[in-house]
């Protein structure tokens, strides 16, 4: 079939053609970017924290009338209280292990700093987050040690929350090790923390551990975590607890009474005992919502555009009843009429997606300059193009089939 008659007839419906092409272009531009946003959010939500998240929960509590932790006696008292809590929790029948820790991935409460390879270096540094934990950190959190050794009970110190002392040994994530020591020989090497002068030895490397914050400001150090062998002493404490397999609920229920039994003068409320699954859900609530919202918009958009194509094509078919009849009477088969409308739609949609690709890239660039967006991969745009062409074909099918069913006798009938 030649394109000539199609082009000639399209020239008579300039407005309709422009409208459909415009609509397809706009839909493509918006849908591409919206799907890209959805894809980004899904990637974000699905990134592993490095923890073994099942059977894991967090206890946050605050003592009432506890020492401030600014003097040595107060720090010692707070540490005793913390050790009592730990003993009580570790004794619970449904608990596998417990680690005192200042935060967890996705908790959005963090202690961040920097490490450098030279003492007193304030210029070149690697940003990192600090997790203060004891010798049960790896087993409780389910972290994988890939080099060196884990902490032993003898390594673990304790310090007031505002004590500005550096540890002598740390465990770092592979992300830090690779960046600081690209040769892969981080274990045994010395680093310096927060622009300080005290040498700190790396004794072990773990595969992966995400930082607590989830905001975009941590994007460039999202995996730079460091474990410090110390219990932090303050008027509050956090304990990450691994329940025995399948005993998560029972273990979580047992915590509050057990801690009140140790010391009733403390704050433990509904938010104090949270499963890691809940922490994860809280952290990514906004991302999940944005993805759903974009999905809904895309769905409406696609329906509206498809309906628009059906509506306008139906109108054209109605207008051209007689011409179709004439063509049929002159020997055109039904399939020829069907193909005619399909090809016509392909032409219009083709122009539409070409403009749409430009609009999609333009919109993406605009979003990049105004919001936290990255460049849209070509794959998204290409998929969008194919999807829009397929949508056009699907939408045009019903009116085109109706056109192909116009009987040849229409040609002889006055309207």
């Amino acid at each position: 079939m030649t394109l000539h008659p199609i082009l000639a007839s399209l020239r008579k419906h300039k407005a309709g053609v422009v409208l459909i092409a415009l609509q397809i272009a706009l839909t493509l531009a918006i849908v591409c970017n919206a799907i890209f946003i959805i894809g980004q959010r899904i990637d974000r939500v699905n990134r592993p924290t490095g923890l073994d998240e099942s059977n894991l929960f967090l206890v946050s509590q605050q003592w009432v009338g506890a020492p401030s932790g600014d003097d040595a006696a107060g720090v010692d008292k707070l540490d005793t209280m913390q050790l009592e809590d730990l003993a009580a929790l570790r004794n619970l029948p449904d608990v596998a292990s417990v680690v005192p820790i200042n935060s967890l991935p996705l908790l959005n409460s963090s202690w961040n700093g920097a490490l450098s390879l030279k003492p007193d270096d304030k210029k070149s540094f690697i940003r990192t987050t600090y997790y203060f934990a004891d010798e049960q950190a790896l087993s409780t959190l389910g972290l994988h040690l890939i080099a060196g050794r884990a902490f032993t009970a003898g390594d673990v110190q304790h310090q007031g929350m505002r004590d500005q002392r550096d540890p002598s040994i740390v465990i770092v994530t592979k992300a830090i090790a690779d960046k600081a020591f690209p040769k892969g020989d981080a274990v045994g090497k010395v680093i310096y923390l927060n622009g300080g002068g005290k040498p700190v030895t790396i004794i072990g490397v773990i595969e992966r551990l995400q930082v607590p914050a989830t905001g975009s400001w941590v994007n460039d150090f999202a995996w730079n975590s460091m474990l410090i062998p110390a219990r932090l002493n303050a008027n509050f404490s956090r304990y990450a607890v691994r329940a025995k397999p399948g005993r998560l609920d029972a273990a979580m229920r047992a915590v509050t009474p057990a801690l009140y039994k140790v010391n009733p003068l403390r704050v433990l409320d509904d938010d104090s005992v949270r499963s890691f699954a809940y922490i994860r859900q809280q952290a990514y609530e906004g991302d999940r919502g944005m993805a759903i919202l974009m999905g809904i918009v895309c769905l409406i958009l696609i329906c509206v555009t498809a309906a628009g194509i059906v509506g306008l094509t139906s109108f054209w078919v109605g207008q051209r009843q007689r011409q179709i009849g004439v063509r049929r009477a002159l020997g055109a088969r039904k399939i020829d009429i069907l193909h005619y409308f399909q090809l016509e739609n392909l032409l219009i949609a083709g122009v539409g997606v070409m403009i749409g690709v430009l609009l999609a890239v333009g919109l993406n660039m605009w979003l990049m300059s105004h919001y936290e967006m990255t460049r849209i991969p070509l794959l998204y745009v290409l998929t969008g193009v194919l999807a829009m062409l397929a949508l056009g074909q699907a939408a045009v099918f019903v009116p085109a089939r109706r056109a192909s069913n116009v009987p040849p006798v229409t040609a002889t009938r006055a309207v």
Partner: protein, 440 residues
């Protein structure tokens, strides 16, 4: 004549129910999506204290200089103050009213026996905080400057905490146990929950589901070492340990707000800040030129990007959807109107001027718009009600339907459809009567 056109429009719309339904649905969904996202945007971008926001200022002083370690390289001073600068500003007292403040999260022990302690959040502030922010009191009032100076053990609590602990009675004068120490309740706030929490954006991140339950005198909180529950940012390790070490360090953790009534006061305060920074430079504490900022609340909220970018992007995408819906409506109206070329031809041949054709078809477009608007109203209602399923509670709880949103929905639907109807109507009015009569 208008009622006649109205009748014609209704009759025409009834004749092709499929096409009509399509147009009404398109308009309805487009408008509802825009209005739902707009209701969220409106809720988070609103001025939390419109009558006074242009008189409330947040001073920033550069206590770190150009080599601050944890500093983004944008030349902006840190967004909070260190203890030294905050205290100097309070001492000099150059604004009409001012308050340094920091976020606290103490425990409260209920008086009733057998009840477990609970955790509350709040701020340590100065007495001028309450009149400066026009905080409404249900009972009592804030404390006074003497209480500030004497580090009095007084507290202002929220109506929510009042209800929880004292059961909706006037608790002024009663005693509240905070962190193991007794405080005298001097005031109960009347459901005060500004959103965003503009007086401390740095720590609240803007929007917060919770109500601030306690406000205690700043210097009292410092005296009893009530820990700072908000962010602490340091460019170097404090030289001393403990809370005192934090106070002596250049770590920033204190929010500050000042009330300045007119342009002259603002200029004077700017000069004061620069003078202060210059004095610090002379004294050798700062080794860099003054680098201060003084933003009013709207500028501060804008600078801190309090409106979540997701909200803006959603609104933009929804507006894009509306645009596509309108293009779609133009196409459908065009098809609908031109299908009636014969009818137009007859009307024109019988002497109807172009204007009459315009009125007739715009009326029809208006009817479609109105129907779409009514559908849009329903869908907007559903959308705003279910936005909580999609967005974080702290934001979705703020979105609500009110009269202005409803009327805006209707107006948007009708105006948008009329605009969409302009071109199809123009085409309809161009129909040549002679051709139509001939071909039929």
């Amino acid at each position: 004549m208008f009622t006649y056109y109205l009748e014609l429009a209704l009759r025409s719309l009834r004749r092709s129910p499929g096409l009509t339904a399509l147009m009404v649905l398109t308009i309805g969904f487009g408008v509802a999506a825009s209005m739902t996202t707009y209701s969220v945007f409106r809720a988070v971008s609103g001025d939390p204290i419109p009558w006074k926001s242009s008189k409330l200022f947040v001073p920033q002083i550069d206590a770190w200089g150009p080599n601050g370690l944890s500093r983004d390289n944008d030349g902006e001073p840190s967004d909070a103050l260190d203890y030294t600068d905050a205290m100097a500003l309070m001492r000099d007292h150059r604004a009409k009213r001012q308050s340094a403040m920091y976020q606290v999260s103490p425990s409260v022990v209920p008086v009733q026996a057998g009840k477990h302690p609970l955790n509350v959040s709040g701020h340590a502030v100065y007495s001028e905080f309450f009149p400066m922010l026009d905080a409404p009191f249900l009972y009592g009032s804030g404390w006074n400057a003497d209480d500030d100076a004497q580090r009095a053990a007084v507290v202002v609590i929220s109506s929510k905490l009042n209800e929880k602990l004292f059961g909706s009675v006037n608790s002024v004068g009663k005693t509240l146990n905070i962190e193991g120490k007794d405080y005298r309740v001097v005031g109960v706030l009347d459901n005060w929950k500004p959103q965003p929490r503009y007086y401390d954006v740095v720590n609240s991140g803007g929007f917060n589901e919770g109500v601030e339950d306690v406000f205690v005198p700043f210097e009292r909180a410092i005296a009893v070492s009530m820990p700072n529950d908000g962010n602490t940012n340091c460019t170097e390790i404090p030289k001393e340990s403990g809370f005192v070490g934090l106070q002596h360090s250049s770590c920033v953790w204190i929010a500050y707000m000042a009330e300045l009534d007119d342009a002259a006061a603002v200029t004077a305060y700017r000069q004061y800040l620069d003078g202060y920074a210059r004095d610090q430079q002379k004294a050798g504490r700062f080794s860099w030129a003054p680098n201060n900022r003084l933003r009013d609340v709207p500028a501060w909220l804008d600078f801190k990007k309090v409106v979540p970018s997701d909200t803006r992007v959603s609104l933009l995408v929804a507006l894009g959807l509306l645009l596509v819906c309108l293009v779609n409506t133009v196409g459908l109206l065009l098809a609908k109107f031109l299908r009636r070329s014969g009818e137009i031809g007859v009307r024109r041949a019988l002497g109807a001027p172009r204007g009459a054709v315009y009125t007739q078809f715009l009326t029809e477009a208006g009817v479609v718009g109105l129907a779409g608007g009514v559908l849009g109203l329903l869908l907007t209602g559903v959308g705003v009600a279910s936005v909580g399923l999609v967005l974080p509670k702290s934001i979705s709880a703020l979105a609500h339907v009110d009269l202005s949103l409803l009327s805006l929905t209707l107006v948007l639907a009708v105006v948008a459809t009329l605009l969409a109807g302009l071109y199809p109507t123009f085409r309809a009015s161009r129909v040549q009567p002679a051709w139509q009569l001939k071909s039929n």
